[in-house]
């Protein structure tokens, strides 16, 4: 199975979030829990649905990532941009808070 993390948008402010250890939600992809195990991925999805019910977030889904040393990188262009911020405004979004990560 490919390596996946669970991601969603926070209900109240639309911020992109990822599921980390201990069922905690984080704004940083680097803290996300990544797994290749199908059962574990199912568990992540269930936690996502529970968080929808708990009014924390909307539209959770599994997304593929790859490991590059210590870093987790999204596979698709869309998720790269979602994890960092707009490529045309490097001063905005997560990239401005956390410093530069993988850019195109």
């Amino acid at each position: 199975m490919p390596l996946m993390v669970l991601t969603a948008n926070r209900l109240r402010d639309g911020e992109v979030i990822y599921l980390a250890q201990d069922s905690r939600w984080t704004e940083s992809l680097q803290e996300a829990l990544a797994t290749e195990n199908a059962e574990e991925q199912g568990r992540l999805s269930a936690l996502g649905e529970a968080a929808v019910e708990a009014l924390e977030l909307v539209e959770p889904y599994l997304m593929p990532v790859c490991r590059d040393g210590d870093n987790l990188n999204p596979v698709s262009q869309r998720e790269i941009i979602r994890a960092a911020g707009p490529t045309v405004r490097r001063d905005l979004g997560k990239q401005s808070e956390q410093g530069p990560s993988e850019h195109v």
Binding site: N9, L11, R12, D13, G14, E15, V16, V52, E53, L55, V58, E59, V75, S76, Q77, R78, I81, R82, G85, P86, T87, V88, R89, L92, G93
Partner: protein, 545 residues
């Protein structure tokens, strides 16, 4: 411009209260996301890549200085200090929090603004000619009827759950600056043989997955029948438009499927029952609204001023348009500085434009569907001073209508629906063609870029259209040539296989070179293409590919 009366004001205020309650119920779990989504969409609130996006309505693209200042304030307070003017004359803010949206709508209501029906399967913002009221040859100001349609369509109980979104555009002149032939309904003002003013009604145009040029359903519709006729069209569409397939739900599909003859027969049958009824427009209401749109300026013999700075001459050459009232000019404000994000304006720039509008344009601004702004009432005597004010804010790029006046949707940098980025492609092309002498040599050429098939960048109607596609996870771009959004509406044709992200600037540069090599005398890009056909362009473009 139109000013709210007590009814209009009550509506927007009640709408804010209603939405505030809906948000509260959502956050308390009384509404699921599925139930809440259409409600927030009908208040212009999308969930995009980074946050919620709010699309604020700018009815027929007309804004007052007070309203523009409020937009700047909202951009600062609730967003990241900038906004994006769209191809439907609205403003988008990209970093909105759901829990603050009701407060934003409340602030908008204070200045007679809202975000009602800027999304959802309902009738959207009615767009109009950005030179309305001040262009020569205008039959009547199309904004009069845009405002009438705006009110009739607002919270229309029968048409709030259409098969799909519905877009209407109106032009008051022969020149079509509103792209009426690529809208669900396009209205072109004209006179009948008796000299009476009315509308040619065009239906079933649209861009997106299947671009279609609209067909005339009625050659001449007298003014008083405007709303009853629209009601007939919408009723037929609401009942018969497809509900099973999102991509086949626009009215253009229905018109195509039935054929214009049958569609017309159905509409005329329905209209026969509505004609003369309570949707008939009283002349008193037309007159009431028309009074708001009388230009606030009179002819003046005050001498036009100039400025010896050569940059002034360059700006005057491209950014001014002739005004129907002597001694005045229409001023275009370019939001396409070299390398800038097309259509974006900072809060500071918005405030500067508001101040300049208050000073030089009777407090009025227009938004164009090509993502620029307009000051419609400027005295020729004030032009140099205005120019200096615009220059100070980076708003005087002398490129209106030239190749660097690029239209681009937000694309994959912001939008959930996108397949590829559009903005950096625009920026690279803008930089590539920055040299003004070259731009003037190339002449009128519109580059329009969409990040996905939904075509919000209107690429189908660009001289050079660029469509971002996803090819095995990579950003690729399909190029079309020969599109046009004016009165000679045409859909561009695909020139050949798509180009990778890095290849696009060279490909476009090559196309422009080919044009300049092959053109005769002063013919425009589109004229050259019409004369020669795609073949030479295709052959030479892909020769070394």
């Amino acid at each position: 411009m139109y000013r709210y009366d007590a009814h209009d004001q009550s509506l927007v205020e009640q709408r804010v209260t209603q939405f505030r309650d809906q948000v509260a119920r959502r956050l308390a779990g009384e509404l699921s996301e599925m139930e809440f989504k259409p409600l927030r969409l009908m208040n212009g609130l999308y969930l995009q890549l980074h946050a919620y996006m709010l699309r604020i309505a700018i009815p027929y693209g007309t804004l007052s200085a007070v309203q523009l200042r409020k937009l700047a304030h909202i951009a600062r307070r609730y967003d990241r200090g900038y906004g994006h003017f769209t191809t439907r004359q609205n403003l988008q803010l990209n970093w909105i929090k759901l829990e603050e949206a009701p407060d934003i709508l409340a602030e908008l209501a204070e200045v007679e603004m809202h975000a009602i029906q800027t999304s959802g399967n309902c009738i959207r913002n009615v767009t109009a000619d950005q030179y309305a009221g001040v262009a020569a040859g205008e039959i009547e100001d199309p904004r009069i009827y845009s405002e009438i349609i705006r009110q009739w369509s607002t919270l229309h109980p029968e048409f709030s759950f259409l098969p799909r979104k519905f877009k209407i555009a109106i032009t008051g002149t022969e020149e079509d600056r509103a792209a009426v032939r690529v809208h669900d309904i396009g209205l072109r003002m004209r006179r009948n043989l008796k000299g009476e003013a009315g509308f040619e009604v065009i239906v079933g145009g649209g861009l997106g997955r299947t671009p279609v040029i609209g067909k005339t359903i009625r050659d001449f519709l007298p003014k008083q029948h405007l709303l009853s006729y629209l009601e007939a069209i919408l009723r037929v569409y609401n009942q018969l438009g497809r509900r099973d397939n999102l991509y086949k739900a626009r009215i253009k599909i229905l018109v195509n499927q039935l054929g214009i003859e049958e569609f017309r027969r159905m509409v005329e049958t329905e209209w026969a029952a509505l004609e003369g009824g309570d949707l008939t427009l009283p002349q008193a209401e037309i007159d009431r609204i028309a009074a708001f749109f009388v230009p606030p300026v009179c002819a003046t013999t005050e001498a036009a001023a100039s400025d010896p700075d050569p940059d002034y001459a360059l700006w005057a050459r491209t950014n001014l348009a002739p005004h129907k009232i002597a001694g005045h000019a229409i001023v275009n404000i370019s939001l396409k500085a070299t390398g800038a994000v097309p259509g974006d304006a900072s809060a500071e720039q918005m405030e500067a434009v508001a101040d300049l509008a208050a000073r030089y344009s009777h407090g009025e601004i227009r938004v164009t569907h090509e993502q620029n702004l307009v000051l419609p009432y400027v005295k020729e005597a004030d032009l140099p001073a205005l120019w200096r004010g615009l220059q100070a804010q980076g708003l005087a790029t002398p490129n209106i209508g030239l190749i660097s006046d690029i239209i681009a949707c937000p694309g994959l940098d912001y939008c959930n629906l996108a397949n590829a980025r559009a903005i950096p492609v625009a920026q690279k092309l803008s930089e590539r063609f920055a040299a003004l002498e070259r731009q003037h040599d190339v002449g009128a050429l519109k580059i329009k870029i969409s990040g996905c098939i939904n075509a919000c960048g209107h690429h189908h109607v660009g001289s050079i259209g660029i469509l971002g596609v996803d090819k095995k996870g990579e950003e690729f771009y399909q190029i079309t040539l020969g599109g046009s959004a004016d009165e000679n509406t045409a859909v561009g044709k695909i020139v050949g296989p798509a180009f990778a992200y890095d290849e696009v600037p060279d490909a476009v540069a090559r196309i422009v070179d080919i044009y300049q090599d092959l053109r005769e005398k002063d013919e425009t890009f589109n004229a050259c293409l019409a004369r020669l056909g795609l073949a030479p362009f295709k052959e030479k473009l892909y020769a070394s590919h």
